[in-house]
């Protein structure tokens, strides 16, 4: 797995054609709400539990 593959998969999942141009200002006041973090943790736990068939 390469970093380019990670980026390509991320763009594909988000249906984006290129990386958004963001600066520090875009991060100001950005807080991860509890329900989003809970969803992330649930997916993380599930991905450690379930396995999908590789190539």
């Amino acid at each position: 797995l390469t970093e380019e593959q990670v980026l390509s998969s991320l763009l594909q999942q988000l249906h984006l054609s290129k990386v958004p141009v963001l600066g520090k200002a875009d991060m100001e006041g950005l807080v991860i709400p509890a329900h989003v973090r809970a969803q992330y943790v649930a997916l993380l736990q599930r991905s450690h539990g379930t396995r999908s068939r590789g190539k």
């Binding site: 990670v6 990386v19 991060m27 950005l30 989003v36 991905s47 590789g54």
Partner: protein, 249 residues
């Protein structure tokens, strides 16, 4: 053919369209396709990309299907193997191209040879399989047997992830390294279709992320899951075919 306890499976074509050949043991088999239990254990074994400009054999590894079938309790249903050309969900151009594909017989037309062959070989995966996780203390050399090695991807160090990827800062992706023991010449298929056994990622898992997305003119954190990002298990397999794993009937 080489296994003492399996006679060679000789089947007959019961359904024969250009895109579907169903091979089934024809001696005294009751009509199975209506049996719901059977339909419940239908699985896609493998897929091959076929060029419409070529003609020739495709080798399909049905190991997992045979393994699954052997674990079924007796009296077991017969093993059904179906090879078909994908036809659904294609655009008009691709579907017309797919209609060009034909199953063809081995010998000259009408020579009665037109039957696929199912060859069963068994390998002791203790000798021919992978060795789990690599020993972090041992260097990877030519003699290292296929294993899973830690590989960390630091997202914080990537320019494109800055101010965009909020979680995780990085993750262990792992990679499959090392070589696989090749079976003796006498066991290998005579068909030139199978290359050497390779060390592949046979099980992978997804990677969830939290990224900042624009919504209504504002940036909001959003969860996204990237498939097949982390290697869970490395195995030795021919041509990337799935490998047997402990299936519960």
């Amino acid at each position: 053919r080489f296994s003492q306890n399996f006679r060679e499976v000789a089947g007959r074509f019961l359904v024969s369209e250009a895109s579907t050949h169903l091979l089934r043991h024809s001696r005294g088999c009751p009509e199975q396709s209506q049996s719901p239990a059977l339909s419940a254990s239908l699985c896609l074994c493998c897929r091959r990309l076929v060029s419409i400009h070529e003609s020739g054999w495709k080798a399909l590894d049905v190991t997992e299907a045979v393994n699954f079938w052997r674990q079924l309790h007796r009296p077991r249903q017969p093993l059904l193997l179906q090879v078909s050309v994908q036809r659904g969900h294609l655009g008009p151009l691709a579907s017309s191209a797919h209609r060009l594909l034909r199953f063809t017989s081995q010998g000259p037309a009408g020579a009665g040879q037109g039957e696929p062959q199912l060859e069963l070989h068994t390998l002791d995966l203790r000798d021919y399989g992978a060795h789990g996780n690599c020993d972090p203390k041992a260097p990877i050399t030519e003699g290292t047997r296929c294993c899973r090695q830690e590989m960390y991807i630091d997202l914080q160090g990537l320019k494109w992830a800055e101010n965009w990827v909020l979680e995780p800062p990085g993750f262990l992706a792992y990679e499959c390294v090392g070589t696989c023991q090749q079976p003796p010449e006498s066991l290998t298929f005579k068909w030139p279709f199978l290359g050497p056994r390779q060390c592949i990622a046979s099980e992978t898992t997804s990677l969830p992320m939290i990224v900042s997305m624009e919504e209504g003119g504002k940036r909001r954190p959003q969860v996204v899951s990237l498939p097949n990002m982390r290697v869970q298990k490395c195995s030795c397999a021919w041509d990337g075919a799935p490998v047997p794993r402990k299936l519960k009937p």
